[in-house]
Symmetry: C2
Subunit: 347 residues, 2 copies
């Protein structure tokens, strides 16, 4: 990349605050030597943690505030109390002012989205930002959105999600024309999915920088059928959690099966390395981070209960997104798309 | 059980017809010595398959018809061409007339549901039948409905799904007051899930033969948090397919990991028995069959592409449901519930 990439961090978010976040910054700093960090939060809590990693001294700018958004704060409450001065707000504000290329917080999702919308604003032409998840597949990875920002989506929003996901696939996977599928169910003549059908018609006809694949079903996500899976936030969130639950469940089955007989236990010892690789592959911390997309800046939401490894992986995602120019590209795509639609009178 | 249980089978449904279905009947006949079977379809195709299992001679009544519903028939088309005379219709009709306790078909889902509604009719007081799936959990099994009959559901339908699922849990798992959860997403202050919230209020307050647990998320399904998970058919279908896809995906990872090194391969050989047990546990054929619930009779839809093991498991489910009196119990529960609601003026 050459140029420096700066990431702003809300050090007070998540279940553990600076004690998890500063070690995560140390991991990320080692992985990305050109990265710099703006760390926002209570200096009295951050400084002792920061002191444990002397290598960070030259790379971290500390911004003190003693206001933090509570993990159980409602979005409206968080906005009222935390605007202008909380660690969450100040991290976002660094992105707004261009001092940072992305912000990362492990705070409350609803509060973070409300504040991000207020601080960064939505890209012109985009109706609602979405939360995108990076989903491991048999092949590699795909992007699924929305995984929880909004319940329901009309056809226009679904098309915008497709553009947003495609911009991310370009930024993160380096695919110039990503394949995009609309999540649907495989039953003929079903009613009530008119919005999805309408979105399909637009995606099929419009001159977009994507390859529209058609409808995909739930099992296509993990199969890696497409680079981008588009759905509304309710369905996407249920799918994501269901997949996480299934992975845990199979992990339990596997553990139980491998402990049942002496031979199985012996086999498990011999295959230890393979099991470790499998465990790493299935580790949800490897792909930690919901990416807020559609705003005039990049925000990554880390799981609140994650450890330093998980938070470092959220910083990785923020770094990749920040160094890819995804916001500019997405803004151009959206402008072009809406201009085309207007020209064709189809809007 | 004592009394005989008769199962009606559409021998022409599915991708392979009688060549898969007759061996499945032989498996089921061995498992359930008191079971009898009405097999409907083209006698010229069925008789040679039937001849391979002499033990079935005394247990199978063959009803000939040369009309079969095509696997790709649209529901309206299937009804028009297949009513009164197709193998699918005649199997359902045996249930309607009380000659069979349940019908099983591997035919087209939409056609089967349309025909089942027309032939068997919906139970009085139930708005729409649902398709229920039996879902393996870490603990044991749970019932998820709707997994695909209808897109969207209002609060009344969700409450009816809860009653329907509870009746099934009673029949299949022997739990007198099953726990019931409403599938939802864990984000605070979300909009658009009013129907789910309204259903929650009714389930909390109404004197129903269930233990209402509250909201559950996607990862609670496989965890076995509740006996019955209630959702609309779109979300339920996406969740089911996503879980199936995730299980396949992890199976792939496991295979790849176990083949990577010599030690891992050796370990896998020693743990062969454990892997076999795991494979069986994860075998989707073990729990094959979507159960149509809410009709005045029991219908089980088998996967179209399954083999004899899978179809036999669908017959198992039909047998368990038929011998449990679930339709009578559900009819009473629904009548009682609606009478209560009317008394309270809450309907």
């Amino acid at each position: 990349m050459g140029a420096t990439v700066t990431i702003a961090l809300d050090a007070m978010g998540g279940d553990y605050g600076p004690s998890v976040i500063m070690p995560a910054v140390a991991i990320a700093a080692e992985r990305h030597p050109d990265a710099r960090f703006i760390v926002v939060g209570d200096a009295a809590q951050i400084e002792p943690e920061l002191a444990k990693f002397p290598v960070l001294a030259a790379k971290v700018e500390l911004i003190h505030t003693d206001v933090a958004v509570a993990m159980d704060a409602k979005p409206s409450q968080a906005l009222r109390k935390g605007r202008w001065r909380s660690s969450m707000w100040l991290a976002l504000d660094a992105v707004r002012e261009g001092r940072a290329g992305a912000a990362v917080s492990a705070g409350n999702t609803g509060a973070l989205m409300a504040m991000a919308k207020f601080c960064l604003k939505t890209i012109e032409g985009i109706d609602r930002p979405a939360i995108a998840g990076i989903w491991p597949t048999i092949e590699s990875e795909c992007i699924v959105l929305d995984v929880g920002a909004n319940v329901g989506a009309d056809s226009r929003q679904l098309v915008e999600f497709a553009l947003m996901g495609a911009a991310m696939a370009r930024a993160l996977f380096g695919i110039e024309r990503p394949s995009v599928g609309l999540l649907n169910i495989g039953v003929e003549e079903v009613k009530g999915v008119d919005e999805i059908k309408k979105a399909a018609a637009v995606l099929k006809a419009a001159p977009l920088p994507i390859r529209y694949h058609g409808f995909v079903e739930g099992d296509d996500i993990g199969r890696g059928t497409v680079d981008v899976v588009v759905t509304d936030g309710f369905t996407g969130n249920i799918a994501l959690k269901t997949a996480e639950g299934t992975a845990q469940q199979i992990g339990e089955y596997l553990r139980a099966a491998m402990g049942r007989t002496l031979l199985a236990r012996l086999g498990a010892i011999l295959a230890r390395g393979a099991f470790r690789a499998l465990k790493e592959k299935m580790d949800p911390r490897q792909l930690n981070g919901g990416i807020f997309i559609g705003l005039k800046g990049i925000v990554v939401k880390s799981h609140g209960g994650t450890d330093a490894t998980g938070f470092a992986s959220a910083i990785d995602t923020a770094y990749d997104m920040a160094s890819s120019g995804v916001v500019t590209r997405l803004t151009n795509d959206v402008t072009y798309f809406h201009a085309k639609l207007e020209l064709e009178g189809a809007a």
